[in-house]
């Protein structure tokens, strides 16, 4: 029962990441991300209940508050303010991206297969799911040109990390604290960046930066 429920949540997470990969529009991506974060929070609560670990509840609360609510709000604000409602152009055909996504999941499974996983509440499948989410998040980052979309990919990668972390038995609090710190700081810095980039490039599109790069030196 414990495992199957954890499983289910992992599955939802993976599915939403996969959908993220296939989304063209920023608004939809943010919604999917929100869904992901909420699922993650639920998974954290469930694991906390199963392992009776107070730390995991805390993680769940942080995830729910910051990732599930605050971050999507902020993202939507950016979309609204910079008028980014138009469709996101991708650097790669969707079909190809999806195909790659499937391949990545295959690799994740293949890699996790030989590990023994004895005496661990995290199953092989869970680890494979977490790994898949991490890899898919990275894939989203590399297939999008838009900075915001890349950030969302990055955030989804972090969700994968947290998913893996909450499954680890007795993982000291250090890790979760770090993840929270990372999300906070990362977004802080990102926010600063986004503002700066807006200052200088009048757009959130990273292609502006790439142009400078192309001039070479």
């Amino acid at each position: 029962m414990t495992y199957s429920l954890a499983h289910l949540m992992g599955g939802i997470l993976l599915l939403s990441t996969f959908l993220l990969l296939s989304q063209r529009r920023l608004a939809a991506m943010i919604t999917l991300y929100q869904l992901q974060a909420l699922t993650l929070a639920a998974a954290a609560f469930w694991q906390g209940y199963a392992q009776s670990e107070i730390n995991l509840y805390l993680t769940g609360i942080i995830t729910l508050a910051l990732k599930g609510l605050l971050l999507p709000l902020a993202l939507r604000e950016i979309v609204h303010r910079f008028n980014l409602r138009r469709a996101v152009e991708t650097a790669m055909p969707m079909a190809l991206a999806m195909l790659l996504g499937v391949g990545l999941i295959g690799i994740a499974v293949l890699v996790v297969l030989p590990s023994t996983m004895s005496a661990v509440s995290l199953t092989r499948e869970d680890l494979a799911i977490a790994l898949s989410v991490v890899l898919l998040g990275l894939l989203v980052m590399t297939t999008r040109r838009n900075a915001l979309a890349q950030i969302i990919g990055f955030l989804s990668t972090e969700n994968g990390l947290v998913l893996a972390a909450i499954g680890m038995p007795g993982m000291p609090f250090v890790a979760e604290f770090s993840v929270a710190l990372l999300v906070l700081l990362a977004f802080l810095v990102t926010g600063i960046f986004l503002l700066r980039i807006r200052e200088h490039f009048d757009t959130l599109d990273v292609t502006g930066i790439e142009d400078i790069e192309r001039r070479g030196r």
């Binding site: 293949l110 890699v111 297969l113 030989p114 990275l138 590399t142 990273v206 292609t207 930066i209």
Partner: protein, 576 residues
Amino acid sequence: MRRWLPDDSGPGCYPYPVTNDLALMVGLPGQGVHLHLDALSLLFLCILAPQILASAVAGMRASVTFWVFCAGMVLALAAGDAFTLIFGFELMSAASWLLVLRGDQKPATFYIAIAIFSAACLIPAVFLPASSPVSCSIAFILIALGTGAKAGLAPLHSWLPKAHPAPPAGVSAIMSGGMVKIALYVLIRYSFIILTGAAQPWWGVVLIIAGVASVVIGALRAVLETEMKTMLACSTIEHVGLITVGLGIALRAKAMGDPALTAVALQAALLCAVAHGLFKPLLFLGAGEVKHSTGTTSLNWLGGLMRGQPRLGGLMLLGAAGMAAIPFGPGFAPEFLLLHAVIGAAATGGILARIGFTFVLAALGLGAALALGAAVRLIGIGFLGRPRSLHAASAEDARPGPLFGMGLLAVLMLPVALLPGQVLAALVPVVSQLAPQADMHPLAYTPLPLLLLAFLIATATGFVLHRFGVRGTREVAPWNGGFGRAPAWLPFGDPTTQPSATGFAQPISRAIAKAVLGKNGTDPADAWLIAPIQRLHLRGVRLAERIRRATIRQRLGVVFAALVLFLAALGLAEGG
């Protein structure tokens, strides 16, 4: 001698028990420095010492880099372990690179690339395990590549004519006369002493082929080059080739168990090293003085220097005699021995080897005659005839320092030139060290009786001329094929009516150079080896630039792709 070919306890096996031994305080951490002198290293130290002295006297003594350069060479010779050897070797390269760089920036990069290349060959070669014949052969090939590159052995020679003329003459002198010897010393040290047990006849063949190619290309380019120092550098390639041919024959003969031939070939190589170590620095110092007094070393702008610089000219004549390997000069005895060695080698081995040695002999003859042409051209165009420029006309005799250095070398040349048998006797310990079973015979070339003969003839002829002939001479305007006198404002005649260095070499250039050298006289090594490598490098650079210009997303993509690749490899390795 410690760890010339380190076993698995090489510089490995840390942690070492650290003692208070002073030797362990400096050098490779935990290993220290080991020095060792034997007959071979002493011989090369003896070759090196007069050059250093002469160059120091000639004006290099104030340069710190120069002394570092010399220290590197001495350290390489005195090294008792591989680290010290290569440290000294590379210190020598690095210091000379700085000196080349200060002289001329263009060839410096090529020069240091070759120097690092030789280190990149030597270090692995030194540490290859001596267990199997294959690894010994690979070690030998690497040693030959590494030292050959540093010594200017074909096909890795094309840096030498560019780099050697660049620094001040005193440094060029030691680079040509000493530094290439250090490389050959390492070659001898490894092929004759350290790898001796595994030596195979074909090792010698490799050296012979490289040496013969060097002789032909070096001598040919020496005839064609118009810059005096470049020409001397080309001649260095030729002499390195001669030494290497001798070493190759000795190595082959030693592996085939032919004691007499081994001895002759080794004597030829070592004596050639000794002789070249004397006359080539002399010539370079002289070229430096020519540069100092006229502002150029281009033969096409010189001429008639013998008038203004009789002492310099006389010393240069002696050096050129050595370079040309004519009898009574220091270069003849080694050439004599070498030709004997080739003829002796042609009497051994299979038919292909014999035919090969016939060609080697022809090539050496070619090289000798070309070297003669180069020496004649150096003296005849540069020091005889009429001045081709005002600078050449107004040149004053060389400064005392360089003249003293050259004189020192010239005096040391005398025993090599006139008493080669005695010099060879002094080399006996070295030859026995390199080939303990070597069977040495006295030298068949004896300059002193020949000189006596010539003296008798000269006396008789002088008597006849003095007794029956008209005495005295009268100075007249030159006949010059009947052309009229040059106008008064051309005190030395019209310079353009005089054959130039290029003109002297034109017949050879037309008849031979086209077959051996590429278009426009480019070195075959440049055309067939260096240029393709440069093209390959350029391709690599362009690829790297394309990678560098990647956008953030592309960079991320590369990272991601690499990660996936590693994971996939991991999955396949573990799952499959």
